[in-house]
Symmetry: C2
Subunit: 203 residues, 2 copies
Amino acid sequence: MSEPAAAIDFYFEFSSPYGYIASQVAEDLEARIGRRLRWRPILLGPIFKITGQAPLTNIPLKGDYAKRDFARTARMHGVQYRHPDDFPIGTVAGCRAFYATDERDRRAARALAKALYRAYFVDNRNIGDAATMLRVAAETGLDAAALGLAIDDPGLKARVKGEVDAAIAAGVFGSPFFIADGEPFWGVDRIPMLEDWVRKGGW
Amino acid sequence: MSEPAAAIDFYFEFSSPYGYIASQVAEDLEARIGRRLRWRPILLGPIFKITGQAPLTNIPLKGDYAKRDFARTARMHGVQYRHPDDFPIGTVAGCRAFYATDERDRRAARALAKALYRAYFVDNRNIGDAATMLRVAAETGLDAAALGLAIDDPGLKARVKGEVDAAIAAGVFGSPFFIADGEPFWGVDRIPMLEDWVRKGGW
């Protein structure tokens, strides 16, 4: 077929260590498979209400494993990682800032996402705080004052809620979560499987 | 060092699809890395009471993903898979039969584990039923009558409880779960990471 292949949806939550690691390797993935990722931040809070799940680090036994695994998975991918002092955090402000930016400039939105993730998981800055989030946005060249207004706009808030609802409708329950040609892949450790699936058209 | 490397602990639950898949690829893994796996069936029921987790297929959103993923992960590894009609099941009888056999014949216990898994995940036989489990054991050449008595022995029951308690103490919260040189790896999808870790002595 001569039509370009559809984008692969890449869902992530800004408070998710594995989402952060995925964001750092996502562009290499795009280059390897020749497919564009559509970056879609989401909020795990409303999703966990549906699934009854809790943040990984709060779960007995699994929490200790998770903290060890965040760091070693980052090392495996050559990604810097410092577990944030405040964890997990609410990331609705960052999520809104992403979509407010994405509506006008997809490239700038992606740069914002990467900067927010690095601010949180490398520089230990609490991006759950709206003022801190806006300072990080300004450092990427965005107009923080305009963005501060934009994220309070009711239409934008509804748009973000709609994104989360759409993710839930698509079956998204974790971060990172990829959907390629209708096939779901959960976790940064499933990137090799996603890649093989996309190359072969399933199996 | 001239001492042989310590065995890698391989924990699994007989009702776990990913544990089944791991059991089917475990001997290839041993051959590739030149390390012996110590097979240790466990029971996720008491573990889930501690972690507050539920069987995967009972979790909203995650359950649908899991059912799809069991089958495609099996296909990826070239392993037969038929999702059992009765799922999940209690597997304490199989677990006891394994350890009763393992005390005298490690090789026979491993053959029993593989046969129980195939009976459940290929032939749709409910190995949660003790009589069915003993029939499968007999098909591997074991003395079903003797095994039926052995699994009711209070000493053996205590041994199995001790195995589960030891697994919990070691941080095991899922199936399959590997511990190599003190480092934990959860999931059949983490076998490549385990392999890399063992080859390099960590990173």
